[in-house]
Amino acid sequence: MSQASYGLNKILTAIARRHLLKDALTDAEMAGHALSEAERAALRAGDIGRLYELGANPYLIRRVFRRRFTV
């Protein structure tokens, strides 16, 4: 994987630990988190491929955006 993004992984971990599934994140959910504009855009879009490129851990992508996967 690419260089891990601590900001992305921190917010995704918080969601995964609550066993929540998301299609996308809202600006309100991202408020206060240290995220780049590119990271916010990918979370807002639920863009699982882009999140991987930006350094989100793939296990967390799968956990949080489970419904975005076709398999």
Binding site: A4, K10, T13, A16, V71
Partner: protein, 277 residues
Amino acid sequence: MAEIVAAALTSHAPLITGKPDVSKPEQRDRLYAGFHEVRRRLAAARPDLLVMLVNDHLQNFAYDNLPAFCVGLAASYDAPSEGGAKLMRLAPRKIAGRPDWAMALLEGGLAAGIDFAYSYEIESWDELSVPLHFLLPEGDVPIVTVYTNCAAPPLPTPRRCREVGAFVGGFIRSRPARERVALLATGGLSHWVGTPETGRINPDFDQRVLDHVVRGDVEPLTRLTHDEIERDGGNGGQEIRNWIALFGALPGWKGEVLAYEPVTEWITGCATVWVRP
């Protein structure tokens, strides 16, 4: 003296129990039969304790604190928790730990230069919950866990995992108490989880790993780099570290493959393996 009376390897994946209906029935039945055979043999070995070599999936250890190796000191494990139970379609339950035994392992490790981290509270995901659903349906054998970071690179090397496993095996055999200990490693084989290749399985990689396991010769596996495993086995394939650790604990032992199924619908090359002297 304590003795190691049983050992096995199994895959773990949430969908094995979470979506049994989406798999091909014949594949599901063969894999489940493999789990049931491990269960039968494990029960026949009458272990007092099950030591589990497993990995977290960022449920417990996240990027704010990520141990390479961690001994579980929990009095009991959520296997699964209520939240995890929904996704794995299992009943939430607690499996008893053996914190006294685990503390001895931890202290022994630190004294021997194996710098384990430790945790008093662990919420299991599929690494414990799915195999134990099959293997300890009554939850009547306490467990001790050794967690290895297989999910959040950089990861410990396979060679180091074998060394840690060797310590665990030596520790068990050095126990003066008359204990019957079983060893179980879970994880693998090839799977790509959450990456752009999600759903890919590489049966060639899986067979290569199983061939080494059957021969009891994991030395070539310890030489694999992170990138080689990632390329051929996927990010989920990194979990073979747990298998390698088990063979570290049991030099000379060999595997007997009870089931191997590359289950596309569960996005995992799934196996159950009995390991014997």
